[in-house]
Amino acid sequence: MMNIEKIRQDFPILDRKINGHKLVYLDNAATSQKPNSVINAISDYYKNNNANIHRGIHTLSEEATTAYEDVRDKVAAFIGAKETKSIVFTRNATEAINLVAQTWGKTNILPGDEIVISAMEHHSNLIPWQWLAQERQAKLRFIELTPDGLLDMESAKSVINDKTKLVAITQMSNVLGTITPITELSKLAHAHGALLLVDGAQGVPHLPTNVEEMGADFLVFSFHKLLGPTGVGILWARPELLEAMPPFLGGGDMIASVWRDKATFNELPWKFEAGTPNIADVIGAGAAIDYLMALGMDNVRAHEIELTDYALKAFQTLDDVKIFGPMDAKLRGGVISFALDHIHPHDLGQILNESGIAIRAGHHCCQPLMRDLKVWGTARASFYLYNTKAEIDLLIEALKEANKVMGHVAYR
């Protein structure tokens, strides 16, 4: 069990007042807040060790290099990866997916091949595959959802076939909260000779994650959603895949020998890290992992199941509310998308903000899913380890208030 009150003290922003109210931050699926240990890791680095890495022989450069490279080990341990060299630092999950599409994709996808994603993918796990499919005359196919918002495994079985070269799927939906059956999908994909890319942008911060158990071939995620700084994402891939992939961006650090007309490339993982990396934030990301490992991801997950269960029940006490996604907290993460009958999510977001409650409103970068759900957007409250049941009570109270402000006129 985690002591939430103690945890909250590690997050300075939680003392922030918004419109006279204490901040209730329920926008964690967009980005998480950061503990002092992460903030301090970054400023300590700049105050004591800052230097460019890899190519330096002086003390600062050596310290910076060690600190930066040590985070790779931490990331590997955090996601159960066997080899440190399989961890590539990117800017964010989005860049990591683009990297795979532009290197693995362009060398492996041929005309007539099929790429399979799901109906609830984030634009970041859709656009790169749209482009790749267009460029390679391949086909992009979609696994549909069940009426209650789960991944439909019947649909998966019908779209994944021997033409499938890649299944790219979210570990947890950032709209519905749905957790997908990754291990099953992995078996299905592998049975047809396809690879599995897991978009862990939502999953890795909230669920215990092990790439070997999942049977993944690629995993991507972003540290800013995982208590870490902005500007750091991860691409993990099986080393033999990375070895075979051509480099992504060209420049300093990713080369071995360079002539005017040709170049040879560096070893893994540096082959994929061109130019000066985001050193300070990678070190900050290491502090985020330390923080979560000390708490234990099982405990984080348990807390979020408890919160989500509480919230789902509380929502049902409201009039005119519709919740999107599964109603069983064990099948989903703490991301609750909802609609009130007569209030546009955008208006709702603003009204809640008057009480210091931060939620998100809009399409959540999932426009195709919105089209399927026949809405233009949803309101979304999403939780993390520092959220409390008291905050959910405040949310529910404020939603009742909102109904008053906007009136109950049953039009449109």
Binding site: N19, D347, Q350, G377, M406, R412
Partner: protein, 157 residues
């Protein structure tokens, strides 16, 4: 009166719940979409016009109260007006929403727009209010360029 109450003053709620000139115009001279990628608001604007007058206008809104109300009031202000007038109305409204000072005068015909003045205090919402107007403006540009291929999309910046 809280800030929110002020924002959602009655006129806005009225237009939000009973938007005017909603729907489609078959065989419209111009059909144009407007999108605010940041929040996902989308509208489709239809109007009939020759080179002098905007004779009819309809709008299909799926936006928030501000967006819907702004579009609804806009249709009332421009329908049947000369193109010259329409441009002036657009200018007046955009000046009101975008100028630092808060002293844009609204003539009697435009006084319904008054309710949107409060939106200025909420910078993120200004775009909600502007989307129908910017979309209309782009539609007029297309009209005068003669490219009425109905393939256009206005993207809010």
């Amino acid at each position: 009166m809280s800030l929110t109450d002020e924002l959602y003053r009655e006129t806005i709620l009225d237009h939000y719940h009973h938007p005017r000139n909603q729907g489609e115009l078959n065989n419209a001279t111009i059909k144009i979409e407007g999108v605010n990628p940041l929040c996902g608001d989308e509208i489709t604007l239809y109007f009939n016009a020759d080179d002098k007058t905007l004779s009819d206008v309809k709008i299909n809104s799926h936006g928030c109260s501000i967006n819907t109300a702004s579009g609804s009031i806009m249709t009332e202000c421009v329908k049947g007006q000369s193109l010259e007038n329409v441009k002036e109305v657009i200018n007046t409204f955009k000046t009101m929403m975008l100028s630092k000072e808060d002293n844009t005068e609204l003539s009697e015909e435009l006084e319904e727009l008054e309710c949107l003045r409060g939106v200025k205090k909420y910078p993120v919402r200004i775009k909600c209010a502007l989307l129908p107007w910017n979309t209309l403006q782009q539609g007029l540009e297309r009209l005068s360029s003669g490219k009425t291929d109905n393939q256009d999309q206005y993207v809010e910046k």
